[in-house]
């Protein structure tokens, strides 16, 4: 009995040391609960959830690539072009408006994957180049204009519909998250992704074609961003080609906050979702507490850096704890 309790205690401690974003999220929520009585209302939470679903979905896609040891900066223009494609086809065909963006996302994602995997270039510079390539191509094709869709189609239900009183966007986010979790944790490809991130060479010595792992990781990312683009398009009256790029900083922030290691091999998609929610709660908190708009960006940056430092300390603590445990045995 006592032994079982002790084991449970260890697991709880290890969980919180390894998932520091959960603590940050809980503390932020509790503080906000005391600071503002509007915070824990259903309406407020529906707002947070619905507004941060696109960020959450895109973050999950980017996280998969980063767990595989890559990096992506080009998701902004990919999201923008998928959303525009969805808006273009939305008045005519519901199925095409969903299918085509996902195909486009997969195609653009695998362009990244192909270059990085086949030529072996650095992911950061490569996706920096493709980011500008996609972005400038998108701007030249659309001439920088707003693309408008039809407001009265079934397509809008994706962004504004409700299932049992819960808005559909967060449900979609949870579905994507569970799917990503299943792929990462319960398929061979997922095991390769983690292995590729932590020990690429070992994986190739084991006889796995490591080039394909990168390619598939970027492909899956593209598909998930395509889903995000569909959701984004259905929540807006029209989409500007510049709008996808505004997600660059929030998405990277969410992925890094969640504790995904930049060198790969470590990370959990559930934490990524919670990190995206944390950003949503933070934005919401600054509105509720009436933080001056001009100071909001700085507050966000400072909290980001503090959370990264905190995460580093927790990981260090966990390593100490683990070595102490193993020494005791």
């Amino acid at each position: 009995m006592l032994d079982a309790l002790r084991r449970l205690g260890r697991r709880v401690i290890l969980f919180f040391l390894g998932n520091s974003i959960v603590i940050v999220f809980i503390v932020l929520c509790v503080v906000m609960g005391f600071a503002s009585n509007k915070f824990f209302t259903t309406r407020n939470w529906m707002n947070i959830l619905a507004n941060f679903s696109v960020t959450g979905i895109v973050s999950i896609g980017v996280a998969i690539v980063m767990i595989a040891g890559g990096l992506d900066l080009s998701f902004g223009p990919i999201l923008g072009s998928c959303a525009i494609l969805a808006t273009l086809f939305q008045p005519n065909s519901f199925a095409l408006a969903i299918l085509l963006p996902i195909v486009l996302g997969a195609a653009l994602g695998s362009v990244n994957g192909l270059v990085i995997a086949r030529a072996g270039t650095n992911p950061l510079v490569t996706t920096l180049g493709t980011q500008w390539l996609f972005y400038s191509a998108l701007m030249i094709i659309t001439d920088g204009h707003l693309v408008q869709g039809n407001q009265k189609t079934f397509f809008k239900e994706i962004g504004y519909g409700r299932v049992l009183g819960v808005p559909f966007p967060p449900i979609l986010m949870v579905i994507v998250c569970i799917l990503a979790w299943f792929i990462l944790r319960h398929t061979l490809f997922g095991k390769y992704v983690y292995a590729h991130g932590s020990r690429q060479r070992a994986l190739s010595y084991a006889g796995v074609n490591t080039k394909n792992v990168y390619l598939f990781a970027y492909l899956v990312m593209g598909i998930i961003i395509g889903i995000g683009g569909v959701l984004f398009s259905s929540r807006e009256i029209g989409v500007r080609p510049t709008e996808g790029s505004t997600y660059l900083i929030p998405v990277l922030t969410a992925v890094i906050l969640s504790g995904v290691s930049l060198s790969g091999g470590i990370g959990s998609v559930f934490n990524v979702m919670i990190a995206a929610l944390t950003l949503g709660v933070l934005d919401n908190a600054m509105v509720l507490l009436a933080v001056d708009y001009k100071n909001q960006l700085m507050v966000r940056g400072i909290i980001f850096i503090l959370a990264v430092i905190y995460n580093g300390l927790m990981v260090m603590q966990r390593d100490f704890y683990l070595t102490r445990l193993s020494q005791r045995r």
């Binding site: 030529a119 920096l128 980011q131 990277l252 700085m298 940056g301």
Partner: protein, 335 residues
Amino acid sequence: MKRTRALRTLLSQYKLLAITAVLLVFMAFVRGEFFGVENLINIITNMSINGILSIGMTLLMIAGCFDISLGSILVLSGAVSIIALRIASVPVALLLGISSGVLMGILNGVLVAKFKINSFIATLGTMVIFQGATFSVTNNKPVATDSDAFQAFAMHNVAFGIPRLVFYFVIAILIIWVIARFTRLGKFAYAIGGNIEACRRVGIKVDLYLIGFFAISGLFGSFGGVALASKIQAASAIFGDNIGLLVIAAIVIGGVSLSGGVGKVGGVVQGIILIAIMDTMTNFLGLVGYYQLLFRSLLLLGVILYDVLSVRQAEQRLERLAVETLRRLERKEVG
């Protein structure tokens, strides 16, 4: 054999200049007015600020780190100097602006070296902080000045219509070239970029040097920021969007490896010149708007692909050479 090898190294060192030359010849045939004195002075003036920023970050990139927050350092230091102008004299304002950049660089360096945060993550965070700080100090609006003395800092006509800015760029190149080539600081940059763990074992104060490289990058970043503020007489938090990434791309095009240890100041200068010529060319050919970014991204992708492929080829050549030598030795032993 020897001659082709020499040609190959020559080509890999001066490939950017070669492309520039081809572009210039093309322009000479298509648009002769490209070579007007006024246009040429415009080109070098416009590339000077980006040039100063890129040259300043070169040492940091050689040491294996980079600084995405450079754009935010640029706008914050510009805003600081313009706001300081309201209460202080021009030299004090300039000094305040530039020293604020050094402080921001040191903050970046401490986060990377002491807190062991990856430089991508750390400078992503400080990028948001510095840009947010600019929003705060400028009250969310662009700030402007009409001080002629302040404008003279960058735009004073030295000779033949060439502004001071260009000379600052030349001096910046000289300073960084001397540091990289002849000083211990420069040698340590290559060493740290090559193998940071080995440097630590040997007893080089890696943390201190890294903070120093970040501070140099911040110094040149804020110098560029103050010069930009002086050139256009204004500062705003949105001027710096993307500048950090553009500068990193320019340095990579110039042949500095992102993982550090490799690169030359001369290469970076070639890259800056090529990008400036390309940008002006697209304007001259009537391709306004996002064609500049399109060509820049194609150049970046082309250069990194070329670099990777040439490294692979060199490796294959070495391998072939090794196999040949082994065979020759075997034959000798048998004989």
